[in-house]
Symmetry: C2
């Protein structure tokens, strides 16, 4: 049976959505491992639309599911329609979309609210003992959604973000860009990716390890 | 000296801009080979904005350079400012943006007009004997811009597109997704990528070969 790996997207672009390189590298590693990627994203308006050339808000209005479809080449499901029973694992690429759309961590920090479909799906995955992978900044979403389980996650070396993770009841673990941290108790794998950089080839090493570890933990 | 490889983007998304997977796989192969990617795109309004969930025009207005910055994580140059003398090689990922923004091939077929900055840069690269790589549908741009040189290019197996290439004065070469065609006379490398598919791991094989061949042909 081909393993089905949910890839939870948050838009299309590092400053207001999914980090594109991280999302594509995740899809590449899943395909290379012989598993099947199922892209999904919440159907909601983005918190911001950022002009990626200037770094400033553009004043436009875009939808997370519609923009995520760019990365998924049209094949993306509304997260509200996806149940954990349909997936063997779930992976969250990074990008500010994780902190702006999947949650409001970018604004609220450790008091962040998790988008309802995202929170429900993470809870279902954890309750079913199915593995979760979280890349770059997206471990904050998992830390908040599953705080009662005291998850161990990476975030690179950003002190303020690491502190926020601890305030949410989770544990921060240091990790280089080419490595992963495995929280075996919670079947949770994370890697810092572009929280550390420096380049796409470095980020690719950690993401490939994360995908392979997540697949190894599938039942 | 680190080789500088221009990556000519055409927006962000397969149906109205650069094919995202192809662009990211190009950046990955360049970084892994120890070269430096220089992203560039024309500063112009996109021909279309397509809702990638429905495949229909959204009625929005977006700029090619600004949207390309999403793939480039903000680091993208206006193609009008880039000279061939600043590059060792130039690679064009695919996506409908090549046929809608870098040229109007999607509308005009073999009578296509090439965007002026793109045409000027391709002519400069060819005149300087510097290698060019073209992925997926983007060989039609090179075929039209350099038709007087009778370039040999791939397009997969789409009969209508292959015919248009011949009408433009170029030569079509059959090629599988995991291979490349090398036109040594014109220092031009092409691969079909998502013109054939089927998946990201297959596309990645051809693109990595293309990047490595282009780098091998740098002076």
């Amino acid at each position: 049976m081909t393993k089905r790996v949910g890839v939870l997207l948050s838009g299309c672009g590092v400053y207001d959505g999914s980090e594109i390189h991280e999302a594509v590298l995740t899809l590449l590693a899943i395909d290379r491992a012989g598993a099947r990627a199922i892209c999904l994203a919440p159907d909601m308006v983005q918190m911001h639309v950022i002009d990626h050339l200037t770094g400033k808000e553009s004043g436009e209005r875009r939808n997370v599911l519609v923009e995520s479809a760019r990365i998924a080449r049209g094949e993306v499901l509304d997260a509200a329609t996806v149940k954990a029973s349909e997936l063997d694992a779930l992976i969250l690429p990074g990008g500010f979309g994780a902190a702006k759309n999947l949650s409001d961590f970018a604004v609220k920090g450790s008091d962040a609210h998790i988008q309802s479909d995202v929170g429900r799906l993470l809870q279902e995955m954890a309750a079913a003992g199915k593995p979760i992978g979280a890349i770059c900044i997206s471990p904050v979403v998992v830390a908040r959604a599953l705080s009662s389980r005291q998850p161990e996650v990476t975030i690179g070396n950003d002190a303020a973000t690491a502190e926020a993770i601890v305030r949410m009841g989770a544990m921060h673990r240091s990790c280089s860009v080419e490595t992963i941290h495995v929280d075996r108790r919670n079947r949770l794998v994370s890697t810092p990716a572009y929280m550390l950089g420096p380049g796409i080839k470095d980020v690719a090493v950690g993401i490939e390890k994360l995908v392979n570890q997540v697949l190894a933990m599938c039942a």
